[in-house]
Amino acid sequence: MSPSRTRFALLAPAMVILFFAAAGPLVIVLVYSFLIPGDYGGVVWDFSTDAWFGVVAERDFFTDQLSWADAHLSVFWRSIKLSLMTSVLSLVIGFPTAYFIATRPKGSRDVWMLLIMIPFWTNLLIRTFAIMELIRNEGTINTVLIAMGLVTQPIQMLYTEFSMLVGMTYVYLPLMILPIYASMERLDFSLVEAGYDLYATRWQVLRRVIFPLVKPGVVAGSILVFVPCLGAYVTPRVLGGGKQLMLGNLIELQFGQLRNWPLGAALSLTLLVIVMIALIFYVRAAGNEGNAHG
């Protein structure tokens, strides 16, 4: 067999599976987003752009007047706001942690990183449960607070945006630490020393020397946290309790209770486009990273 035919034969099984169970179905989603919803879920095969209008606008049932779809826009806003907040909070915790690990002796760095990665490779649902059990009204934090006499009524933390922020930060934090650590590990500390020799304070060294050098890692980490937050489904469902919807939950709702598959398809593709734009920035950041370090 010629090399190219061998290559084709070797790649074929993986490509067939990926085509039928990953890439191909996305095309069907695109088609569905231009159809009309069926009465009991599914679709009617008539062309329509209503679903795409429905992403941001709604038509009044009686007067036929167009207006902004406030319910959807508020979900978009919450998704973007919480994803940004999660990225920032993860950065605030993750940056010093990555720095701490990168400044350990060489042999023990791997072990510290393992400690970061172990929670990451464990079940996301279980980690979300763990947070839920902590912050429920009958949960550990409230039980302790009441026992100490600090509060008489449990503080409602579950099913709020706060609980979603805490949960997503908890779940995605390792994605922030990993790329920052990768940049920091290669940081040349003689540059830091040079900064001190030039009478820089610790803060100046951090801001003017360390931060610029690890900036690609910071950008990469922020995007790596932002992207899965935007499409999060499990964490907002468990910790938002169906009251505080994020995009993933809104999409599910269209395929479940609301039976509007075309709108669900259009919302899915909207999410996909936003994620792809973020990933393009990520690839750029990762590319710069490679250049900066030769």
Binding site: L10, A14, L26, I93, F100, E133, F189, L272
Partner: protein
């Protein structure tokens, strides 16, 4: 400045890092602790007991969910690893070829597309097939899991392959070894650690999946994670903690094993 000046120190960073480690592990440790609680509560300690493990063990729904989870994870991990080995052979240690970018994009696609979008697209696609064929069996879940496991199986295998020298294979071919024999006796034994790592990673990823399973499963096809998600609406007992602890133990064992595995190799 009396004390020696450490250029690496940044005030407060160590404290934040320590806090970070505590915060990462405290919720998990509490969850594990309450799985051994004698009482009904998941936040009030009433003594040590294994009753929730016993009750989970005897629960029919949990039993069938466990069997289903393991069946899917083993099959999907096997399939994903097998096709990933072949794909890695075609894309590693070869001259760049046209279409390589497309192949990489296809393999990494499950990592880039949000899970909820894949889940929805599979829901639509499989619904069409279900209507057309009437088949509602397990293979929808297995194929879906295989697809998103492929990049996880592919990565360690490719990494291992890249570190391998082609000269041994060339020597084998010079000695009239057929491509199959060269692969069987030269490539495969060297590739084995990568294959094992890819397989274990796939197994863990499949075992933990919630979103895609939740959308693809037919009635009565609950895996452990979807069963747990379904229990949310009811009163939560430490039984959930017991299942979680078991799943955590499997994941942690596998990840740690992989860590030491890849370490001793160097």
């Amino acid at each position: 400045m009396a004390k020696s000046f450490d250029v690496r120190r940044q005030p407060g960073f160590t404290a934040i890092a320590m806090l970070c480690f505590v915060l990462l592990y405290l919720p998990i440790l509490l969850l594990v602790a309450y799985s051994f609680n004698a009482g009904q509560s998941i936040s009030q300690w009433e003594g040590l007991s294994l009753r929730w493990y016993a009750s989970a063990w005897q629960n029919d729904q949990i039993q069938s969910a466990t069997i289903l989870s393991v069946t899917i994870a083993v099959t999907a991990a096997f399939l994903a690893t097998s096709v990933a080995v072949l794909a890695a052979l075609a894309t590693t240690r070869v001259k760049p070829w046209r279409g390589q970018t497309v192949a990489f994009a296809m393999i990494n696609q499950p990592l880039m597309v949000p899970e909820i979008v894949t889940a929805v697209s599979l829901l639509i696609f499989f619904a069409m097939i279900k209507v057309a064929t009437g088949y509602t069996g397990l293979w929808y879940l297995i194929i879906a899991h295989t697809a998103f496991c492929i990049p996880f199986a592919y990565m360690p295998i490719r990494a291992r392959l890249q570190g391998m020298n082609l000269s041994l294979e060339q020597a084998g071919a010079d000695l009239y070894g057929t491509p199959v024999k060269v692969f069987r006796y030269i490539t495969l034994p060297q590739l084995w650690p990568g294959i094992l790592a890819g397989g274990m990673l796939s197994f863990v990823i499949s075992l933990d999946d919630v979103v895609i399973t939740e959308f693809v499963k037919s009635a009565g096809q609950d895996t452990l994670p979807t069963y747990m998600l379904g229990q949310l609406r009811r009163n939560i007992t430490p039984e959930i903690n017991a299942i979680s602890t078991a799943l955590l133990a499997i994941s942690i064992l596998m990840v740690t094993a992989m860590f030491f595995f890849s370490r001793t190799r160097k």
